[in-house]
Amino acid sequence: MFPPIANPSVTDVTPRFSQKDLVRRSASTVPAPAERLTEVAKLIDVSKCIGCKACQTACIEWNDTHPEVGVNAGVYENPPDLTPDMFTLMRFSEWENPETNNLEWLIRKDGCMHCEDPGCLKACPAPGAIVQYSNGIVDFVHENCIGCGYCIKGCPFNIPRISRVDHTAYKCTLCSDRVAVGQGPACAKACPTQAIVFGTKEQMKQHAEGRITDLKSRGYANAGLYDPPGVGGTHVMYVLHHADQPELYSGLPKEPRISPLVEAWKGITKYAGLTVLGVAAGVGLLHHLVMGPNRVSDTDEENAERLVRSDRHDSA
C-alpha cells in the first residue's frame, strides 16, 4: 500500500512554504527564491478510481464551500460542471472498446492540473491574483482577483470558475493549507482506493510506473502516464489505461498547451512601464482575439464583457 497520509496535527505548525517560495506571480515579477522546494504532485490513477465522489465531498468539507443541491440531468455528474464551490468533479464516460467489444466506464476526476507552465497565471492581468510556489502549487489570491475570467481562457483544461457571490475566480488549491503543514490534499486523504495519491513529483512518477506495469499485464497495452509536456508537465498527473487516447476520458486534451496569444500577452506584462490603460486595453484586445464567447455563463459576466467591448470601441 502506498503510505497513507498521516493524521493532521492539532497543534499550531509553522507553514513549510510561504510567499518567499513564489516562483511566479500574475502580472508582476518576483525575485527568484533562494532554493526551489521539492516539487509535489498528485497522481490520479484512473484505473483504480471507482467514481465514488469521496474526493468531491472531502473537497467541499475541507474548503468549506457550499454548492447548491441541483437536479438529476440523466447523468452521474453532480454538480453538472465545476463551479466556484466545486473544485473537483468526477466525469463519467461510457465507452465501448472496439477491440474487445467490452463496455468501459471511464471515470476521471477533473480539476486543476497545477501546470508547471500555468496558462491561468500567464493570462491573469491582476497583479498577484495567481501565484505559483516553487513546489509547483498554483494558487489563487482572492484579494487580488478582479474576476475578469481570463484565467479560464488561459487554462488549457477549462478549470477556474468565477463566483457570483464575490466575483473572484476559484479552483483547486491543491489544499495548499494542508500541504503547508505537511499534509496531503483532502481528496487524496479521503480516496478509498488510493486512486489519488500525493507526494513528490518523482515519487508519483515512480508509483505510476508500477501501476502502468500492472495495467499492461492486464491487457492495457497503451497504459501510460499523463504529464503533458505542452504545459511543462503538471503537478496533477493521471495514470490512464488508454494513454494514447486521453480524449476518451471526458475530453482530456491530448496535447494541451497555452494559447500562443496568452504567451504573447505574458510578454507584454513584462513591460514595467505599462499603464493601467495599457493593461486593461491589452486585456480587452486579448480577449477579443483569443477568447470568443465567454464560457462563464454568468449574466453579469456577459454584461461586463459587453462593457469592455463597447468601451474599447468608444475609446478607439
Binding site: I50, E61, G70, N72, G74, L103
Partner: protein
C-alpha cells in the same frame, strides 16, 4: 464475514456477485484494489448492471436478477465436470461422503415431502442414514450413489453453460470465462473470496443464494483460509451487532433461540438443543448451549433466575409461529392486530416493501413512537406531501410521538463491523437541543413501566420488576457498565473443570471469555459470543495497537473480534488432515505435534488432534455441509426458483412459481404480476448508490449535492423502444404502485436474452423520500412486492416486474 476486510488483501480472485462493494463499501473495497495491485489478483463482477465495481474489474458478466442460484450451481457443475475440486479438502472437511436416507428425492423443482397447501415441507427425509453405532453413515470412497457428493452431482447436472445462459441471460462465453477463473482456485495454493451483500439476501430464496456460493467455496477449499471465505459485507454499521445481540423476534443473544410453546420447561427446551455429535470425537460446540443460556438468564434476571425456577424460564415469551418478523408484524398491523409500535432509528415507511400497505398499516395504530436523530418519513407518515405522500391527515387517528436521539458523534460505545470486530468509539460533540442517548431513553421507559407495575400491579409483572438493573445511575446506564454486563461476570468463584485448583475468575470479577461460562448459575453473560470483549484486562474493544506481523491483515491487537478474538473463522481448515497448511505461504495455524499454534486464535480446541477432530466445530458432524439436512425450509440443496414476479416461466421447473416454501400472506399473492406478464413486461431491481447511505444522507446537504434527485436507469434499447429521452421523465408502475422519475439512459444496462425472450431491466435506486435536503422523490418501495425469503423473511426487493412510459414531467 468468515474473514475480515483487511484479509481481502491476501486473495487471488475476488468474486463480487450479489453486492456492489465499490459503491456500497468503498473503503473496504480498498483491499480488493490492494490485492489487485500487489498480488496480481483478479476481480470478477457478476451483476445485472455494469456497476462502479464492474468499472475496475477484470471480467464483468451480466446476469438477470434473481437467477444467481442457476449461475452458481452452473459453476459447481463446471468444477465437478472438469475435476476442478480440491478433493482432499472436500473429502476431509465436508459431508460429501455422508449417506443420505432412502426417500430423499428432488423432482420437478420440489424436494421430497412437499405440502402444497401449507407451502412447506415435511423434512424428515432430508437426513443422513444413521448407523448402528448411533453415528451418521459415511462412505469415504464417495462411491455410494446416495452419498451427498453423488446426490449433489446429479442435482447440479442440469445447470450446463447452455442452461445458465437460458436462465440467467449470461452469454455462454462470459460464463465460461468466469468458470475458468473460478475453477483455478481449486488449487490449494489459490484462494478466492466471495463478497456479497443485499444483492443476494433480498430475494425469496436469499439464504440459498448464499448457501450455493458457500458450497462452491467448500468445493474449492477456500473456507478457513487466508484470502478466502464467505464475506457478507452487510449493510449498516451495527447490523452485525444487533443480530449478534439477538434483537429479532425469535432470538436470544449469541444465536441462541427463543423457546416456542411446545417447550413448556427448560428440560423440553434443552432436549432439542443438545447437539449430540454425529461422528465420533467431534467437538459439536453447541453442547455448551445450556451454559450460554443460563448465563444469559442470570444477566437478565440476576438473583430472580434460580435453579429452582428453571432460571426464570417462564419469564421468556414463547413463540406460536416461527417468528414475528417485520413482514408478519406489518401484516398484523394491517389487520388491526397491533396497537402500539416503537421504532428506534428505523425508517419503516421508506424501508419496507409495498409502501401503500405500510401507510395503511401505520394508520391503524393507536400509538407510534419514533426515536431518531433525524426527521424521518415514518414519523411523518400522516403528513401530506403531494404525490410523494398522498395521505389525508384528518383521516389518520394514530398518535405519534417523536423523540430526538443522539448520533454516533455524541455517544460512547461499540459497533460490530461485518468482519466481526467490536470497535469502541468515543463521543466528540454535545448533542443538539434536547436530544438524548438511546440508553437513557430505554432506561426511562423501563423505569416508568416498572414503577407503574409496582404501584398498580397488572399482567405478569415479575420479569419487569425483576429485570436485573445494576447501574450506578439507574436512569442513565453507561456504555461501560452495559459492555461489562455483555462480557459477563463470575457470580461465584469459577475454577477450571479439569483442574479445580486453577481459578478462572474470582466472584464478582469479569469473566476472561466464554470458556469460563457455567450452567449452574455461577456466571452471568449477556451475549456469550462477545465474552472477552471487556474483561479484567480492560476494554478490549478499545484496543488500538496496529501491530500486524508479516502483514497478514489480522491485527490481533486492534479492537476485539468475536468469537475469542479470532480473526478467521474455521481457520483449522487452512491446514490439511495432518495439520500442515494447505499452502505454506498462507499459513494461519498449524499442528506442532502437541497443539495448534499460529498467528490467529485457533478455531479448534488447542489440543484437538488433526486426524480426529473436524474443523467445523459448531456442527455435530465436525465437517461442513454441502447438504444441510432439515435446517433450511426450502431444501437441503439450493435449486433455481424464479422470483415471485418473473419475466419468464421457470425453465427447470415450469410448474413451480416463486420459491415454493416462501411464506405469502393472503392478499399479497393477488398483488403479484403473473409470470411473463404482458402488463408488466420489464424486470426491475432496486439498489443503493455510492453517493448516499440508505435514507440518512439525503439529510446531508453535501450528499444531496452529489445525487440530488430520484431517477431510474434503463438501457438505450428500451429507451428507443419506448421513446424515452435521456434526461426525460418517466412513469414506472407495478401492480402495487407508481412512481415518476428522471430517466438515466445508459449503456451500463443491456437487455438480456432469457429463455429466448428479450428481457429489459429497469434499475431503481433507493435513497429518496419526502424529508431532508435532497429533492423529494419516490423510491422502489412504492413498487416492491410483499414477500420474503423462505428462511429469514428478507423481502424480495431485488426482482419484480414493472411497466414504464415517458411522461412530460412530474405530476404535482
Amino acid at each position: 464475514m468468515t474473514n475480515s476486510w483487511t484479509d481481502i488483501r491476501n486473495t487471488d480472485l475476488v468474486v463480487i456477485m450479489g453486492g456492489n462493494a465499490a459503491e456500497a463499501h468503498p473503503c473496504g473495497f480498498k483491499w480488493v484494489t490492494e490485492a489487485k495491485a500487489n498480488r496480481g489478483a483478479k476481480l470478477i463482477v457478476v451483476d445485472p448492471r455494469y456497476t462502479r465495481s464492474a468499472s475496475v474489474s477484470d471480467l464483468y458478466a451480466p446476469i438477470r436478477q434473481g437467477t444467481d442460484i442457476a449461475f452458481l450451481l452452473g459453476l459447481i457443475n463446471y468444477c465437478i465436470e472438469n475435476d476442478k475440486v480440491q478433493r482432499d479438502y472436500v473429502k476431509a472437511f465436508t459431508n460429501a461422503g455422508y449417506v443420505v436416507k432412502q426417500g430423499f428425492t428432488y423432482q420437478d423443482g420440489l424436494f421430497s415431502g412437499y405440502d402444497e397447501a401449507k407451502r412447506d415441507y415435511d423434512k424428515s427425509s432430508w437426513d443422513y442414514e444413521i448407523g448402528a453405532d448411533g453415528f451418521a453413515v459415511v462412505d469415504d470412497t464417495l462411491a455410494n450413489p446416495r452419498c451427498v457428493w453423488n446426490l449433489l452431482k446429479n442435482h447440479v447436472a442440469v445447470y450446463t453453460p447452455e442452461m445458465v445462459e437460458r436462465i440467467c441471460g449470461t452469454p455462454k462465453d462470459k460464463f465460461l470465462k468466469v468458470a475458468e477463473m473460478v475453477a483455478e482456485c481449486s488449487s490449494p495454493t489459490k484462494a478466492m473470496t466471495s463478497m456479497y451483500a443485499l444483492g443476494w439476501t433480498q430475494h425469496s430464496k436469499g439464504s440459498q443464494n448464499i448457501r450455493a456460493m458457500a458450497m462452491l467455496q467448500l468445493i474449492l477449499g477456500n473456507i478457513g483460509v487466508r484470502g478466502g471465505g464467505m464475506n457478507a459485507l452487510r449493510g449498516h454499521s451495527n447490523i452485525q451487532g444487533l443480530t449478534d445481540v439477538g434483537l429479532m423476534s425469535n432470538l436470544l443473544p449469541g444465536y441462541l433461540t427463543l423457546p416456542n410453546e411446545k417447550e413448556p420447561d427448560l428440560a423440553a427446551y434443552m432436549s432439542t438443543r443438545g447437539f449430540k455429535p454425529l461422528r465420533p470425537n467431534q467437538m459439536s460446540y453447541w453442547q455448551n448451549y445450556r451454559k450460554f443460556f443460563v448465563s444469559f438468564q442470570k444477566a437478565m434476571y440476576g438473583s430472580a433466575a434460580t435453579p429452582e425456577n428453571d432460571f426464570a424460564y417462564d419469564y421468556l415469551p414463547k413463540l406460536d409461529v416461527p417468528g414475528y418478523d417485520v413482514l408478519r408484524a406489518f401484516d398484523m398491523m394491517h389487520q388491526g392486530k397491533i396497537n402500539l409500535y416503537l421504532c428506534q432509528g428505523f425508517n419503516a415507511l421508506q424501508a419496507f416493501p409495498n409502501k401503500q400497505k405500510i401507510t395503511a398499516s401505520l394508520s391503524k395504530l393507536k400509538l407510534l413512537v419514533v426515536m431518531d436523530p433525524l426527521a424521518t418519513e415514518t414519523a411523518r407518515f400522516w403528513e401530506n406531501h403531494g404525490a410523494h405522500n398522498d395521505v389525508d391527515p384528518s383521516a389518520i387517528q394514530t398518535e405519534v410521538i417523536e423523540l430526538p436521539s443522539t448520533c454516533f458523534a455524541e455517544d460512547d460505545g461499540s459497533l460490530t463491523n461485518s468482519g466481526r470486530w467490536l470497535q469502541w468509539h468515543w463521543a466528540g460533540g454535545t448533542p443538539p437541543g434536547e436530544a438524548k442517548r438511546d440508553t437513557w431513553i430505554m432506561a426511562q421507559i423501563h423505569l416508568r413501566l416498572k414503577e407503574l407495575y409496582r404501584k398498580e400491579g397488572g399482567a405478569f409483572p415479575d420479569p419487569i420488576l425483576n429485570l436485573h438493573w445494576p447501574y450506578a445511575d439507574p436512569g442513565d446506564p453507561t456504555a461501560e457498565e452495559i459492555a461489562q454486563e455483555i462480557n459477563g461476570r463470575a457470580l461465584a468463584k469459577v475454577t477450571d473443570t479439569a483442574d479445580p485448583t486453577k481459578v478462572l475468575a474470582e466472584a464478582g470479577k469479569l469473566l476472561p471469555g466464554f470458556a469460563a461460562l457455567r450452567d449452574d448459575g455461577s456466571t452471568s453473560c449477556g451475549c456469550w459470543i462477545y465474552s472477552g470483549c471487556f474483561n479484567e484486562k480492560g476494554n478490549n474493544m478499545a484496543r488500538r495497537d496496529t501491530d500486524d506481523p508479516d502483514e497478514t491483515g489480522a491485527y490481533l491487537k486492534w479492537a476485539f473480534s468475536w468469537p475469542a478474538n479470532r480473526r478467521i473463522l474455521y481457520n483449522r481448515a487452512s491446514a490439511d488432515l495432518n495439520g500442515k497448511a494447505w499452502d505454506p505461504d498462507r499459513k494461519v495455524i498449524e499442528w506442532d505435534g502437541a497443539k495448534w499454534s499460529g498467528y490467529d486464535v485457533p478455531d479448534i480446541a488447542p489440543t484437538a488432534k488433526p486426524g480426529e477432530v473436524g474443523p467445523f466445530i459448531m456442527n455435530p458432524e465436525g465437517v461442513s455441509r454441502l447438504f444441510t439436512r432439515g435446517m433450511m425450509r426450502d431444501g437441503p440443496f439450493p435449486a433455481h426458483y424464479e422470483p415471485f414476479e418473473s419475466p419468464i416461466v421457470n425453465p427447470v421447473a415450469p410448474n413451480v412459481r416463486g420459491n415454493p416454501a416462501a411464506r405469502v400472506f393472503e392478499g399479497d399473492f393477488r398483488q403479484f404480476a403473473e409470470p411473463a406478464s404482458a402488463e408488466f413486461p420489464y424486470a426491475a431491481t432496486s439498489y443503493r448508490l455510492t453517493e448516499h447511505f440508505h435514507f440518512w444522507t439525503k439529510h446531508v446537504i453535501v450528499n444531496a449535492v452529489m445525487q440530488p434527485e430520484f431517477f431510474v436507469e434503463i438501457s438505450e434499447q428500451l429507451a428507443a423502444e419506448k421513446g424515452i429521452a435521456k434526461d426525460g421523465w418517466v412513469r414506472v408502475w407495478s401492480k402495487r404502485g407508481s412512481v415518476t422519475a428522471k430517466a438515466m439512459v445508459t449503456k451500463r444496462i443491456k437487455p438480456l436474452t432469457c429463455d429466448g425472450k428479450t428481457v429489459h431491466i429497469v434499475g431503481i435506486p433507493l435513497h429518496w423520500g419526502f424529508t431532508g435536503a435532497a429533492k423529494k422523490g419516490f423510491g422502489p418501495n412504492m413498487l416492491t412486492p410483499y414477500v420474503g425469503d423462505a428462511n429469514i423473511e428478507t423481502p424480495e426487493y431485488k426482482a419484480f416486474l414493472v411497466n414504464i412510459e415517458p411522461v412530460s414531467g412530474p405530476v404535482a
